[in-house]
Symmetry: C2
């Protein structure tokens, strides 16, 4: 299996080894991996990426499907002049990189040091070809991404800067708050590129919310929401 990895991962495996990431031993799919597919016969492998390391590029063949174990990932598209739109952030437990077609439509990078679990796309395809429950699960996961994208189109097309930031805070609060505190893994530029704003506009909105007592800081990326209701009111 270690041999299979070096074959199939080629450049990425080499790069990751240079970066000092470990390759976890092969093991059967555990319950925790049920999000991708809780079925015997699927091989899950762990893999690690360093901060800002590319996991896959836009239009690259979609060979694997990933689940974040720890860390955080951004999926994005670029325009030719470098303008970037982040489509989604992937946090621990999230599955990403799932494609129905042959290629990844967004690139993916580790926001911070990140460990993922992955399975070969062909394994999933094969399982889906014989098991309608697997097929249904794949559809449902893609539909979940579509739901998020539809909500995000409304944000990008029609919300004001303050509404976008309020939406973002409530989303992150829901997805990664522990004990009412959230530790954002991403920088202001990432947030801006997710919300269709500049990093300065994001910073100004956060400062304004801080001044109004709606949130508290413990360092720029440790945020406590002090009044979710008022935040909801700011979110259209």
């Amino acid at each position: 299996m270690a041999q299979m990895l070096t074959q199939t991962f080629n450049t990425r495996a080499i790069k990751t080894q240079i970066n000092g990431s470990k390759i976890a031993p092969v093991h059967p799919v555990s319950d925790q991996f049920g999000e991708i597919a809780g079925y015997v016969g699927l091989i899950a492998t762990e893999f690690s990426y360093r901060k800002d390391e590319e996991i896959y590029g836009e239009d690259e063949p979609a060979e694997y499907v990933y689940q974040v174990v720890s860390g955080a990932v951004r999926s994005y598209k670029l325009l030719s002049d470098g303008r970037r739109q982040i489509g989604s952030f992937h946090l621990p437990g999230d599955v990403f990189g799932l494609e129905s077609g042959p290629a990844h439509r967004l690139a993916a990078e580790a926001i911070i040091d990140t460990t993922v679990r992955l399975v070969k796309r062909s394994s999933l395809e094969k399982a889906a070809g014989t098991d309608v429950l697997v097929a249904r699960k794949l559809w449902t996961m893609t539909a979940g991404e579509l739901r998020h994208a539809e909500d995000h189109m409304l944000l990008l097309g029609r919300k004001t800067a303050m509404e976008r930031v309020a939406t973002f805070l409530l989303e992150m609060d829901r997805r990664l708050a522990v004990a009412s505190m959230m530790a954002l893994p991403m920088c202001r530029r990432d947030i801006g590129d997710y919300l269709g704003l500049t990093l300065e506009t994001v910073s100004r909105a956060l400062s304004q919310l801080h001044a109004q007592g709606i949130l508290g800081f413990s360092g720029a990326r440790q945020i406590v929401l002090r009044n979710r209701q008022r935040l909801h009111n700011l979110d259209a």
Copy 2:
């Protein structure tokens, strides 16, 4: 079947009958309907909507899946104060209203008088439960919508007004041009709400493209692209 329709369509069927739409006789799925599912046993019905008539509302139970036969449909979300984001336009041949979950996440309205073919969602679910090819087709269709949404997020978050209009024109040219002429079914406000712009900004961009000789008008909604290459250059 007519009885089934009045039962299952309730208010919509009544409204449509008042509007004078016809209810087509039940018939087996034809080859043309293969986009939804070319399988024996699925019942397709035709239904018509008048200009601006609602086909289904946001968060309404997703009982049917639709395919445009003729006309055009807009799918959109609204903010509480009326701001609208159109997620996509559905043109003849397009399938819309397909959901993995229980409810429609966007509302749908006929842009002009429109005829659709529809099948019960439960029929598709049932077919997908026994036939992995049907299941695969449903997944692929949802993945296609996701691809469009991802491209559109990039447009809404990062493109300029002129780039958005150029992208729109190329999309419509690809999807509905006949003999290099496209007859837009939607008004400037719809285009603006699709592109995250105001109708005035859309109009100004089109006027500018006209002045540059990149497109020609035969009435405000009949457009000929005279230089696709320059339009591509304007689209980031």
